[in-house]
């Protein structure tokens, strides 16, 4: 960290953290308020918009029919893609997707596969012939820290709005008949991510804003459904102490319950 940044960090600690306050008025472990809107995009099969503080993320899900992989003929696809366009943040250049977008994409896909967010077998229409492909596109509209948290909420609430029609497939004639009998997807679990910024070995901040993320020495994300943990992700950076991990997990579990209530309240 350079001297100017170090100076800013020290001032931030003295002026705010030592008084158990943050620049936006929250306590150290306070999360920002979130607002959620579902079915906002009519051309998509499922969609949601989430705003956590100033971080805004929109998720749209498109359902398509496709052919399954030969090695797994009875499961459909759930493909998540996160885009951080240059309009959302000054540090992202237009052009090829930035590293952070790719890392977030890969992380979301990994967690979705690990915790079996939805039974992919319910996306199968005819074994080895026809399955549903759910492509979930997540766009960040405003990058103000903790984008990962927002992506998870957006993805979950959008998945809950997806209605798939019943499809009849004739094996002999390859004929596809869509019956207008829509059914909701069944989700197995609701993983909620909570990001924490490690300021130094004394202070951790829950749900850091972009400004705070820049000052933090490392980031730590906990994915949990309030009970089990799905991921404790710390991609490098400075060290974190054991009791800090413990606290983070505790706050993340409480946060997961609040987010579950939020998701429930919009349905």
């Amino acid at each position: 960290m350079n001297s100017i940044k170090l100076n800013i960090q020290e001032t931030y600690i003295k002026e705010y953290l030592a008084l158990q306050k943050r620049s936006d008025g929250r306590g150290l472990t306070g999360f920002r308020d979130a607002s959620l809107n579902i079915n906002s995009i009519h051309t998509a099969d499922g969609s949601s918009v989430i705003k956590i503080g100033n971080t805004a993320v929109v998720c749209g899900i498109k359902a398509e029919l496709g052919i399954p992989k030969a090695e797994s003929p009875d499961v459909g696809y759930l493909l998540v893609n996160v885009e951080l366009p240059s309009l959302c943040y000054k540090k992202i250049r237009p052009g090829i997707p930035c590293d952070e977008a790719m890392e977030t994409t890969s992380f979301l896909n990994e967690v979705c596969n690990n915790c079996k967010i939805l039974d992919l077998q319910q996306l199968c229409i005819c074994v080895d012939k026809l399955v549903w492909i759910l492509s979930c596109d997540i766009y960040c509209l405003n990058y103000d820290g903790s984008v990962l948290d927002a992506c998870f909420v957006a993805l979950l609430s959008a998945l809950q709005t997806v209605k798939l029609p019943e499809v009849k497939y004739d094996k002999e004639t390859d004929e596809i008949n869509v019956i207008e009998d829509y059914k909701f997807l069944k989700l197995n679990c609701l993983p909620v991510a909570s990001t924490f910024g490690v300021f130094n070995d004394k202070y951790i901040l829950a749900d850091p804003t972009e400004e705070e993320e820049q000052l933090c020495i490392s980031k730590f994300s906990v994915v949990t459904d309030g009970n089990l943990l799905f991921s404790l992700h710390k991609p490098g950076g400075n060290y974190i102490k054991d009791n800090q991990i413990q606290n983070c997990v505790k706050y993340a579990k409480i946060r997961a319950k609040t987010v579950h209530e939020l998701i429930k309240s919009v349905q």
């Binding site: 690990n114 799905f230 991609p235 490098g236 060290y239 054991d242």
Partner: protein, 211 residues
């Protein structure tokens, strides 16, 4: 952990500033470090050096998942190096997968630490990575093989620094698990990293005798 577990050859590439060829069980990785050198002016930072980690698969191209591993390696290496000592320069670390039979991330991280040590670039601390898998019966297997990883319920890669107190640098997990089992794994992995650090020490001692 037996003697045969880690094998390493330092300085196997003549033209790079530091290199390591590491095999951990059946997984093998080659790492070369070049730098500090003068980068393009767009990558130049006036107060610190930049660290560039490139991860390469056997096939040459990498996927989105590999990009995440690359990001983890990058931020772990960057934190270990004293980048402030090398302003306006760039340090390039190239990690080449030779054979992947499980624990790839841990091997890559250990290999890059050894290569950085070999290069002589100033470092704050060393780091060592250990992978462990958890079976259905909540049994913890350190350095699992491919089969054990595929049949496990959770799989962790944890990185600790070389300091006496327990400092977790990086954590990458897959699967479902409870917090208590995570703490148990941390204890076991931390103990295992001590052996990796003594391996590092022996390796460097041997290197110094040859010189």
């Amino acid at each position: 952990m037996n003697e045969e577990f880690l094998k390493c050859r330092l300085g196997f590439i003549g033209n790079s500033d530091g290199s390591a060829y590491v095999s951990q069980c059946k997984t093998t990785v080659a790492v070369s470090v070049v730098g500090p050198f003068e980068p393009k002016s767009s990558k130049c930072l006036y107060d610190r050096g930049t660290v560039d980690v490139t991860f390469r698969r056997k096939t040459g191209s990498i996927t989105v998942h590999d990009k995440m591993l690359e990001g983890i390696m990058q931020s772990t290496c960057e934190e270990a190096l004293i980048v402030e000592q090398y302003p306006r320069t760039s340090i390039a670390v190239t990690v080449q997968e030779m054979q992947d039979r499980g624990n790839l991330l841990a091997t890559c991280l250990n290999a890059s630490c050894l290569a950085l040590m070999d290069s002589g670039i100033s470092m704050h601390h060393l780091f060592a990575a250990i992978s462990c898998a958890i079976t259905d019966s909540e049994e913890i297997i350190l350095n699992p093989d491919e089969l054990q990883i595929n049949s496990s319920v959770a799989y962790f890669t944890l990185v600790f620094s070389s300091s006496e107190s327990r400092q977790l640098l990086t954590s990458h997990t897959t699967g479902k698990f409870s917090h208590s089992i995570y703490l148990q794994c941390m204890d076991k992995c931390f103990a295992a990293t001590r052996e990796v650090f003594s391996f590092y020490e022996n390796m460097i001692k041997k290197q110094l005798i040859y010189c």
